[in-house]
Symmetry: D2
Subunit: 348 residues, 4 copies
């Protein structure tokens, strides 16, 4: 019953096999190898973006920080949700990599940037002079930190604001696969066709060991990105071992199949919770649920060894019928048995 995070499991067998195959023999280092070329081509194909510049790094924070630094100057601000990963969980990596830019924190339901909040913040910034930071970039997270998904229309509404202001759009796609697996939308439609300039395509939470792709749909800043990656310490000598992961991940829709598996388990869990009368507080757009349970349920689950994080403050010594908001994350290895046991403990 492990629902603490989707970053706590291993890698898909196809990915492990690809690594094992790739590590044999010699290959030129730092990405100058055929496997890396192949994996980059695979990304371009999946995203229908033949001119995109594609790079692999090993952590989501590195991907985001390098992408933002390549698109937002030191005197710029990144418009993003106040609960976004780049604000809350990267220990100021964006500020470090950009050389001291700011993040402008926006409101919005389910950790989605609200169109009106963005518009207002951008309008306020647009009137600014030399004493204030300038508009730098817009960042959206798909799915959000609250497990919600932007529709294509919602993405476009935000990116059209960006385009009018000539600001680039960054998408933190840590759980993009989970979103796409729930929608009848192509990767291209959800990203560059909807105005996204640079995508951080997560994979580590959904089947790779440690591999993320940064996709610059406009390759103009590709060389700058490469230099930033190197001096950030993120250029791997044995790059092909990252490339092998990404190639396997994107082959035969593995990424979407893994995400669908994970989403399905989230749905099974959601159904069971709702049947038990539990309120799920977020729009479920990926593999994360934010239910509010009673303390007696929480205590039983903890006692039975269920792993998850409380999301709201609560008094551990409170009465049984007090409630606590919790976060439940499924992953591609979650089993029906885990789900059913969780629901049983909750109910009993």
């Amino acid at each position: 019953m492990f629902f603490a995070s989707d970053n706590a499991t291993g890698a898909a067998p196809e990915v492990m096999a690809a690594i094992a195959e790739a590590e044999a023999g010699y290959a030129m280092p730092y990405g100058n190898d055929p496997l890396t070329e192949r994996a980059q081509a695979r990304v371009r194909e999946v995203f229908e973006a033949p001119n995109a510049a594609v790079y692999f790094v090993a952590t989501g924070t590195a991907a985001n920080a390098l992408a933002l630094a390549s698109h937002c100057p030191p005197w710029g601000t990144v418009f993003c949700h106040k609960g976004s990963h780049i604000e809350e969980d990267e220990c100021a990596a964006p500020e470090f990599f950009t050389g001291g830019a700011k993040l402008t924190l926006l409101e919005g339901q389910d950790a989605k940037v609200s169109h009106d909040a963005l518009q207002a913040a951008m309008a306020s910034t647009a009137r600014r002079g030399v004493h204030q930071v300038q508009g730098g970039a817009i960042s959206v997270t798909q799915a959000t930190e609250m497990g919600a998904a932007y529709s294509v229309e919602e993405v476009r509404a935000l990116t059209s604001l960006a385009r009018k202001a000539r600001l680039p759009v960054h998408m933190d796609g840590t759980r993009l696969a989970n979103v796409l697996a729930r929608m009848n939308v192509t990767p291209a439609e959800m990203t560059w066709k909807s105005g996204v300039d640079v995508l951080c395509l997560g994979a580590t939470k959904n089947g790779t060991m440690a591999a993320e792709a940064v996709i610059l749909f406009d390759p103009e800043r590709a060389w700058e990105f490469e230099l930033r990656r190197k001096r950030g310490g993120h250029l791997f000598s044995k790059m092909r071992l990252l490339s092998a992961q990404m190639e396997a991940y994107l082959t035969d829709d593995l990424w979407l199949r893994l995400a669908a598996q994970s989403n399905g388990m989230a749905d099974r869990l959601a159904d069971g919770l709702r049947a038990a009368g539990v309120l799920i507080e977020n729009q479920v757009g990926a593999n994360m649920l934010f239910p509010r349970i009673r303390l007696d349920q929480h205590r039983r689950l903890q006692g039975a060894g269920a792993r998850y994080y409380p999301w709201t403050d609560f008094d551990p010594d409170g009465p049984d019928d007090a409630t606590v908001g919790i976060r439940l994350v499924t992953n591609f290895r979650t089993t029906e048995e885990e789900i059913d046991k969780f629901l049983d403990v909750l109910a009993a």
Copy 2:
């Protein structure tokens, strides 16, 4: 006949097996898992350093830059050899991570920092006031970029200068295993017992996929290091997959056995070259040779598919008896057959 670098092969079978085993099941992310604890304990044991703070990252540049930033202030200078990796091959990562420190470049045979050069540079810096950068740290590379090894006595001569000036000593130990495998010296004697404060222990060139250890023998700056690692994007969620590599690498002397294998091949190659009348220009302290060969030899080797880098400028259309300095690096997978074939082609 691949002698271009030791970063172009894969990982040792023991390391691959450890990864495969570690990836099963769940483990808390970001290093909060038993395997990481075990691997850290293994490092402390190997280095006889029970209080050391031990961290794993995936690239040598990350290890060096984070280690230096944790020990040298933005207004400091790192004394190092002018040909060191931190100066020549990291695209100013140390400058980036420190927030704008300098590197003071020193002379020295075989890329070893000369005691006299260090002493003179430190003396000059010690007289400085607010207009100049201050002494920040000393950095030595073991083995050096020219494949030479510092003796324990040489390390101590440098670190005693550092101690007098109260400056910390960083050792870039990318090929420390190769050095130790050639000497009757313990890891502790070569490092903290000789005055090294922070060691970047390379492993990726000698049997891991992508795993390096940073060892802070004085744990005082451990928390700072952790924060720098995180905001540098170098804190892996599936840390245990790095830890697994490092544990396997340091178990049953695997690291020293792999290095000895690699060194042995370098020796076989050196013997053959000398027998063929070729001058080897560096002190051979690890697994790298810098021979000077004739252009006709170079052309034959290239024609036969041998992979290595020229080290000196030369005229590709020059006469047969002109010479070129080349760099030959063996690795733990280099075979006797490769060596012998190389020597045959050279001779024929």
Copy 3:
């Protein structure tokens, strides 16, 4: 009728005379001169802080950014009001000088940091791990950007939170003189005796040409500050010309007399406005008023050449009885005639 800012006039005659005297003859550069020593001693005396380290710079942004960088690490956050100068008007200078720290923006009436907001934000930060920025520093502005003043008790309530968390307290004292001139409180009581660790003492808005003092009540970080000042380009060769300004400014209570003059004009203006039925929306703690006037009044004032900034959005073509919030700042050269003319135009 110039009420746009207090940074738009010149320097007091005593200050100009001091510069003229100081510029004669030779003096060792970079502050190694007797006049600088004397001015530093004067600051220490005025603040009853014999051990304080005292430095002079030429702009308030430089003072704040250097002070914060010397007290908040790159992975820290500065707790401050969301409308503070360091957030709103320094183009991310704090982020630049600290190497990428954050600012945590707090609410509070009249741009004063609310005790409860600070307590809540600090509590939230205190539970953080390596993924989040750490508590770095607390910054308060005296008087605030809304012209209000913290009482000694209010300062102490905030600094006691800081002390519990072992965080340093920065005071942006751009208009500290105006506050002190209104209270029966000594400079020491308002600052270090109330828990302030580093004070940026403004002077440029109140009688000097371009001179601010940074006072480190705890001199432990003095040398770091000096190095940061130098590499920030803020160490003046002809430092004595700054020192002369500061010495004159602090001699015979000139600073308090100038501030009292400015405050008196603000009071006269406030009285007149209130008599005319105008609401003044801020607590008046210094020399700034935020009245809300009608558009017909605004139009008459503009027509008569009055200089001030609107503070709220408004429709320039709106009806006469619509209102606009404006900011009026007096300075040490403001005359009764200016005030009375302004009130006449408003009323007519």
Copy 4:
């Protein structure tokens, strides 16, 4: 007998008068005032550069660091002389402002960048890949730290290398006035007409209190420069007080007259030294002499209160006929009496 530096005196009477006049009345802050506009126009006129963007700052280090940061990316290197001010005397301000760029240190007689050294260094850098810093900018100092002057031809030889590599050229013109006053060359010929892209025009050492101009001959990076200046804390609220200095300085050739006065005193001193058999070791291109004197002469001069810096290491207890290299700097207030007294003491 003050020859320690030209930054240790005050300001010319014309400059002081201009400040006194400018400080009266009100003016919009931050350079939005008519006087600043006039001073900028004056600079453009003197340099025959109608499109140049012109900014005023208060220190040479600020001018250099901001100019370099606006022209060299964080992953670039600035080619400069190893003894240049930006390397030796700015405590890594260029590294700080650029966000971690490098300086590539070049040899050259009298602290002039040697054409061959620059060519070799640039050629070496041009072959570099992602592992190394890229060519960023070329920086020359006019006059050099050794008091020598580049001829127009020498400047052009260097800038033509820059142009081929599409790298911008920065001139640190701290003592440009002294050079121009010795040559029959216009300011334009010495700078943009010879390929200089950005000039830091010193004035503080030659007659202003604290005012330097940064001239971007190509205004493309003007807005970036303004933002960097602001966030560096170098945008003065009472900008007109800097502008007034610069306008007066450039009016009626004051800057050249002051420099000529200073140069003339250096010549008188040089003549006297040579007549006394003293070797002057530098090419005298400005107002600085580097003579080598005997220890008995040094002792007499010190005893008589002469102020200057030794330039070479020497044993203070050495024999009378040992020698020491010293640096003598004249300034616009140096008198014939000072010179003659110095020569008398030396001779006696």
